[in-house]
């Protein structure tokens, strides 16, 4: 098991802000993820996409942040997608019931 440094890499396309969430998302990196979300989560002119392709670990703290983003984007009536969910992460999304609220988008869509 190789510990991979948690990081969020932002990418901007003509109609999307894409945040690539990489590594282990646990309580210790909550401030880092919030800081990465801060500048883009209120922007309604583009869709917000969380790309989870390289996410290795998530627990209730990370899922809680996604719930808070869902609520905010819903309130703003602004599009929010989650893409490339790894199977192990998807299982936790299904267990907690967040799956039914998530719209899976590919980067070509929206």
């Amino acid at each position: 098991m190789k510990a991979e440094q948690f990081q969020v890499v932002q990418e901007e396309t003509t109609n999307q802000y894409i945040l690539h969430v990489i590594g282990e998302l646990d309580l210790s990196v909550v401030p880092q993820l919030r800081a990465a979300l801060e500048p883009v989560m209120n922007r309604t002119e583009k869709a917000l996409v969380l790309n989870l392709k390289q996410l290795k670990y998530i627990d209730s703290t990370g899922i809680g942040i996604i719930v808070s983003v869902l609520k905010l984007r819903d309130e703003l009536k602004a599009p929010f997608f989650v893409s490339d969910i790894p199977p192990a992460i998807k299982r936790l999304f299904d267990l907690t019931g967040i799956s039914r609220y998530l719209i899976e988008g590919t980067e070509a869509q929206a």
Partner: protein, 145 residues
């Protein structure tokens, strides 16, 4: 009883070490990859609670984790020395997200639910000055979920 004990400062930065330790022990016991992943999340949730509800002074609090392998199960005990004990009825109240409008969703409270969903047995015991969470996962038993 061959308990393996780990003590970490009650701070989020050390929870990954608990997962690494758990990984080593569970691998040696031949748990399946998916079961190890389940236990990693459950034990992290217990530590999250200990960090969030533990002692207000992060320089003083510690979390004691005890891994207790048996022939067909692994029991993990997570003790925090915090002043605020988790209510023992949290287990009964734990639930997944409701089928509601997005605006009605609550942000927290999934940790205990996940522990229950991922482990075979979960106990929360109030201690004199803290909380003990006991997690158990059976080895080589058909999964119930």
């Amino acid at each position: 009883m061959n308990a393996i004990r780990l003590q970490i400062p009650a701070h989020a930065d050390y929870i990954d070490l608990v997962r690494i330790c758990l990984y080593g022990i569970a691998s040696k016991m031949s748990y399946a990859y998916e079961d190890i992943e389940d236990m990693k999340v459950a034990v992290s949730e217990a530590c999250n609670n200990a960090v969030i509800h533990g002692t207000p002074d992060p320089n003083e609090g510690v979390i004691d984790i005890s891994f207790e392998p048996e022939d067909h199960a692994l029991t993990i005990k997570v003790n925090n020395s915090g002043s605020e004990a988790l209510a023992t009825d949290v287990l009964d109240k734990a639930a997944p997200l409701p089928d509601a409008d997005v605006s009605g969703l609550r942000v927290g409270g999934l940790g205990i639910y996940l522990m229950q969903a991922l482990m075979d047995e979960v106990e929360v015991n109030a201690l004199e000055n803290g909380t003990e969470v006991v997690l158990k996962k059976y080895l080589n038993v058909a999964s119930e979920h």
